[in-house]
Symmetry: C2
Subunit: 196 residues, 2 copies
């Protein structure tokens, strides 16, 4: 299952850029950019560890979390996932680790569904995996910054996440919308998620 | 037309946070965050100037741009818009300024359509306005970092932007999808954009 060829990086930081600040999560990089008229400006872009999330199935259900964070007011629905431990961690390994820690589930049937770069000015990819036929291996191991409850929803409920105001995955929402409004796309997505 | 009450700020930087770095665009802020178990961690969030974009109509058409940036490979479709000049600039003023600079058009009929906070860890709002019945006032005044051509598309072409791989406004894409698949939503959006 290793060795995915990850492909998309919308706007990589140029190789001659310099890191001007390293924070807890974000790095700030700058470089001299030649403009269309030949003049030079300082351009800036950020780098942060990539993040992963999984559409994890148990039978004909999907694992959905309701999550609260220490500095956020409102609980929000999310898929199991989190940050890669480093800039080098393999996204699939991170997805397996986060699924196990947050839900206690494991899967032997993983597929990469989406790679998105949500913000042009940040070198940051969100990897969305599908983890089929999950089975429970242990109790969740939440850290001090997590308050997460996991529940099982069916495919139709999953599609309706596209209507939830606090479901922040807008690119995913587009895919869910597509499936809601086209029988063909709905069938395709269902087959992809549950395997066929 | 002034004095919109802008409402949404998903995760504002807490008032006791300190700015630890100020870059060209991004500021990095940190604070001590109490976790659910009472322990303390350094949390980090960014701030950047808000951005604006406009769905600008001319007769029964919509102004769409094809844009190239000095550090990006591929031209991409976008709505007229850009960054607020400061953290205090009124988004509507910024939208008027950017529309005039990038397209040469002005409007007397502005409506706020959307306020989005696309990234949880960045204090940053994208304001989407509708600018109806635009008329050309001058030639575009592009700066050295812009290569923009403007063209007019009809409502159906506008909806199909939701299929374009380089149309980066995913929340907007969700609205376009909704309108493509429901006659009622299509009519509602058309009335909103063109005025009725």
């Amino acid at each position: 299952m290793m060795g995915y060829k990850y492909t998309i990086m919308r706007d990589p930081i140029p190789s001659h850029a310099k890191m001007v600040f390293k924070g807890k999560i974000f790095e700030v990089w700058q470089w001299e950019q030649k403009m269309f008229d030949g003049s030079i400006m300082i351009f800036e872009r950020l780098r942060r560890p990539n993040t992963v999330q999984s559409v994890a199935t148990v039978g004909d259900k999907i694992l959905l979390q309701t999550q609260q964070q220490p500095d956020k007011m409102e609980p929000f629905p999310s898929l199991p996932g989190g940050r890669c431990d480093s800039f080098d961690e393999d996204p699939l390994e991170a997805a397996k680790r986060e699924l196990l820690e947050e839900t206690g589930y494991v899967s032997d049937d993983w597929t990469l569904w989406k790679e998105q770069n949500p913000v042009g000015k940040i070198q940051w990819t969100i990897y969305t995996f599908i983890a089929r036929n999950c089975r429970k291996q242990q109790e969740p191991q939440l850290d001090a910054g997590e308050k997460i409850t996991t529940h099982l929803i069916d495919f139709e409920e999953f599609l309706m996440l596209s209507e939830h105001p606090y479901f922040y995955e807008k690119e995913l929402a587009v895919s869910l919308f597509r499936a809601r409004f086209s029988q063909k796309e709905r069938k395709k997505l269902k087959n992809l998620i549950f395997g066929k």
